[in-house]
Amino acid sequence: MSLPLSIPLWLPAAAAFLGLFLPGVASRVLVILGALGTLAWSIWAILDFERSAKGLQDVTDQVWIKQLGIHYKLGVDGLNLFLIALAAFIFLACLVWAAMKEWENASLFFFFLGVAESAVLGALMAQDLALFVLFFDLMLLPFLFLAGIWGPEATRVAAITKLFIYTLVGSLLMLAAAIATGVLVAQHSGNDISFAFSDLAKTPLPKGSQEWIFLCFAAAFLVKMPAFPFHGWMPDGYRNMPLPVLAVFSAVLSKVAAYGFLRVVLPIFPDASAHFQDLMLVLGLGSILYGSAMAFTTSEARLVLGYSSIAQLGFIVLGIFALNGDGAQGAILQAVNHGLVVAPAFVIVAYLAERTHGSEDIRDMGGIAFRAPVLATLFLIVTFANLAMPGSSNFAGEFLILLGVFHSKLVIAAIAFTGVGLAAVYSLRLFIRTMHNRVGAEVVSRDISFREGLVLVPLVAVIVALAFVPQFALKKGAPSIDRAVGKAQLITQPEITAVK
């Protein structure tokens, strides 16, 4: 038996909505329970998944707007399964973290977080292009309010305006492109208009249409990630989000963009994907180099993580546009890994800031490990994962990505290898400057309390667990991921039979 996907999808938003009418404490508990329910479902879904390896599972397919051919179609397969679990887990962790802090107008805060979770899950589960676009745009809205109401008062309005316009420039172009896709496919196939992925993939569009549509979609995804040079909103956006919100934003939202390439772009626009492969690889490479360099030079802790995310997402773009099974599997694995690494990293930044009288500048930190061995150990694990230490799951992810690129574009792979080294440089720099060195002037070090540990330890535990069994995530996802890149792979490497 299986649960209709709508239940885990809407549970967080429903709990959040009810929470609006309850006093502060009760609303937190309710939202956390909602997120917990969704996480429980996603774990069960992973365990239950193996029963068949082909196609979507737990499909919900209803006609939502008949006039426009939009289906309310949800489904789970190897491509989105682990990302859904990642989203559910990170949201729960950050909700728990946020619940330990005091917020002005708390029930509204948790309302927006709950809505954000449902929107993200919706984008990941959607099997209809219009529905995907709707959720993809919708998931940004709660963050507009979260940053705008609870961010630092002096700069927040300017920052969210920038963030919002920047990211929606891409998203709205994607909306127009998505509608054009539906209309063109209907015209070419002679069927009634339908936006379901399965219907769209049946009729390939002419190459010319594919190309401009591809560019619109790529704009949306690259801005949301963000990838160099579309990251202009990132520094201000990151500075103005409260840390629990930022942790979710950085860990989960960027992955939806990467996922979008694999779910939408590669299967529906394979010719264009092959056509723009080099461009995308170069953009990925640029993100790795630029992100690494910036992460190494900036001194704001949260921006170090922000720029390192740009670099990591560069790797993910490389993996996707290797256009083969290895690269794409590595990309999905790395997306999960990065989400799992960056969220505890933001938790640690918050804890560090609490020990330096609120400063998040790494020049004010230092020597914290001296009186906080547990915190230092946990941070070290996160750091090792971030720099893809052999043995960590991130190593497996980056290895697969580089293997994939190595097979398709040797030169790109060779340059990308430097990115692995650069990751070690900026990750270790962050660790050493905060944990080792001379004790900072304002630093009052103490080890983590039980409450702090409650948030951080489970996050780190999952990193450790995944380090032992990365193949767990890989094996279940492989067939779906291979199918996603199959068409585009046939075009670039016709000698390989794409679907193994």
Partner: protein
């Protein structure tokens, strides 16, 4: 002795009944307003107006799915046509009317202009709007346009002791008359080019070879310009910000929504029935107008700090979006336009209701400061305005998203994908000013009232501020909340409304 052989038209009274309800209602309201009792004037007259609008809706539902010509005289095809398009426009007008009556109920304007006259004028202009949307004859089209315009000129000037209101009325009168004159001139040219006044005769004549007649083409251009004035399509939009700002806010809400619906109803019928075979000639022109309007409207709105002016510019931009549905001359296009008009109703009524509420509660009039910080202090006003802004910007989970979706869908199905992209570029620009409002609501502290009780020249308070009392009226909040709820409901469950719009789309006999 027979003086003249006047052939009396056959009248389908059932079909005319919605218009009779409006015009009859206006007479009843006017007479009731003459009675002396204060209760009668201030409570009964608005109530009767609501009843008239309600009766119009009821009769419209009764006549739904009928398709018939009204006032058919010998040798003509009927002055008006009752079909689902007419009825949809009627519903939009009447629902807006009910909202506007509630917003006017305890407003300053009807008290200054006398209740009977104020509400009677509103009903009369509503009748004009229905006639404009239903007209299928050049003469009745013009009749409808004037019947809707003249009462509006007066309504704009009903706050008689406020200079800006009078200025607004006068400006609207002058520019509106230019528009009407242009329109009439265009109709005359069309008659000259085709020799017919009935829409279907015009269509026959055009398909019979008159398509490239220069008289006809001039006529089409001038007609288009005339309606562009009414629908505030750039570059004929210049009156919009001033008139919107100066008019009493309930009147602004009324004309912003209802006039636009009627103008587009008329436009659709002229273009898609009478001039359908000249489609190849006018479609590029309409597409160009749409693109220009979208850009001009959105850029113009960027620097506004008065909410009414901001909404005026945004209404220019929205007119551009709506034109995208007209360009294709297709069933889908009519459906998209009608759907967008109906959700446009909720978005604008929600926004104007909040503006009115804040005009009455604060001394800031319609300035952006009036809504600053209401996210915490007045959530029942903050949410509707937020939803209205997000919906106007086309954010998902609001009706505006579905509306934009249908319009882009219609444009790209008609081969105007580039226009769809212009729409999304317009939406991007529009985010900057809609977000400004959202940011004021939620992210800025409430403005301090003391600093602006008088302006430099000593006149008290800002334009539009009601000096009577600082009070919160429940009916205004109710209108805002209902309209805000409708925005979400039709954003999540748009199918019922889309089906109605699709029926309207089918009624013109397009593909």
């Amino acid at each position: 002795m027979v003086l003249a052989a006047i052939s009396k038209p056959t009248i389908d009274w059932a079909g005319v009944s919605p218009i009779i309800a409006l015009l009859g209602g206006s007479i009843v309201v006017l007479l009731a307003g003459l009675l002396r009792g204060r209760f009668i004037r201030e409570q009964l007259v608005p109530f009767l107006t609501v009843v008239a609008f309600g009766a119009t809706i009821g009769l419209g539902i009764w006549q739904w799915d009928e398709a018939k010509d009204l006032f058919v005289a010998k040798g003509s095809q009927g002055a008006l046509r009752l079909d689902d398009l007419t009825l949809m426009i009627t519903f939009i007008v009447a629902v807006t009317g009910i909202g506007a009556v509630l917003l006017s109920w305890r407003a300053l304007a009807p008290r200054e202009a006398a209740h009977g006259e104020y509400f009677a004028l509103m009903l009369t202009s509503a009748a004009g709007m229905v006639i404009l949307a239903a007209a299928q004859n050049l003469v009745t089209v013009f009749l409808g346009l004037e019947l809707l315009s003249v009462p509006l000129y007066v309504l704009c000037a009903t706050e008689m002791r406020r200079e800006r209101s009078l200025e607004s009325g006068l400006k609207y009168l002058i520019i509106g008359s230019v528009g009407s004159a242009t329109f009439l001139y265009g109709l005359a040219f069309i008659y000259g080019g085709t020799g017919a006044t009935d829409f279907r005769d015009i269509a026959t004549s055009i398909s019979g070879g008159a398509a490239h007649d220069s008289l006809l083409l001039t006529g089409i251009a001038l007609t288009l310009v005339g309606l562009a004035f009414k629908a505030s399509v750039a570059p004929f939009h210049q009156w919009t910000p001033d008139v919107y700002e100066g008019a009493p806010t309930p009147v602004t809400a009324w004309m912003a929504v209802a006039t636009k619906a009627a103008a587009f109803g008329g436009l659709l019928r002229i273009m898609d029935v009478a001039l359908i075979d000249a489609h190849a000639d006018w479609a590029p022109a309409v597409a160009a107008l749409a693109a220009v309007t979208i850009v001009v409207g959105n850029v113009g709105a960027l620097s506004q700090s008065s909410l009414k002016r901001l909404l005026a510019w945004s209404s220019v931009a929205q007119a551009g979006y709506l034109l995208a549905g007209v360009v294709g001359a297709s069933k889908l296009g009519v459906q998209a336009t009608v759907f967008y008009l109906s959700i446009y109703l909720f978005m604008n009524i929600a926004a104007f209701a909040v503006i009115i509420a804040r005009e009455r509660e604060t001394p800031f009039g319609d300035d952006l400061r009036a809504v600053a910080g209401i996210g915490t202090s007045r959530p029942l006003l903050a949410w509707p305005l937020t939803l209205a802004m997000l919906s106007l910007a086309g954010m998902p989970a609001t009706a505006g998203f579905i509306g934009k979706f249908t319009l882009i869908d219609a444009a790209s199905s008609a081969g105007y994908t580039w226009l769809g992209i212009v729409i999304v570029i317009g939406s991007m620009i529009s985010l900057a000013y809609y977000l400004k409002v959202v940011a004021a609501i939620w992210m800025r502290p409430a403005a301090v009232a003391a600093e602006v009780t008088t302006t430099a020249d000593g006149s008290p308070r800002l334009a539009g501020a009601d000096p009577a009392a600082e009070r919160a009226d429940w009916e205004v909040t109710l209108v805002a909340v209902l309209a805000g709820a409708a925005i979400v409901v039709f954003g999540v469950i748009p199918s019922p409304l889309l089906n109605l719009a699709a029926d309207a789309g089918k009624s013109l006999g397009l593909f």
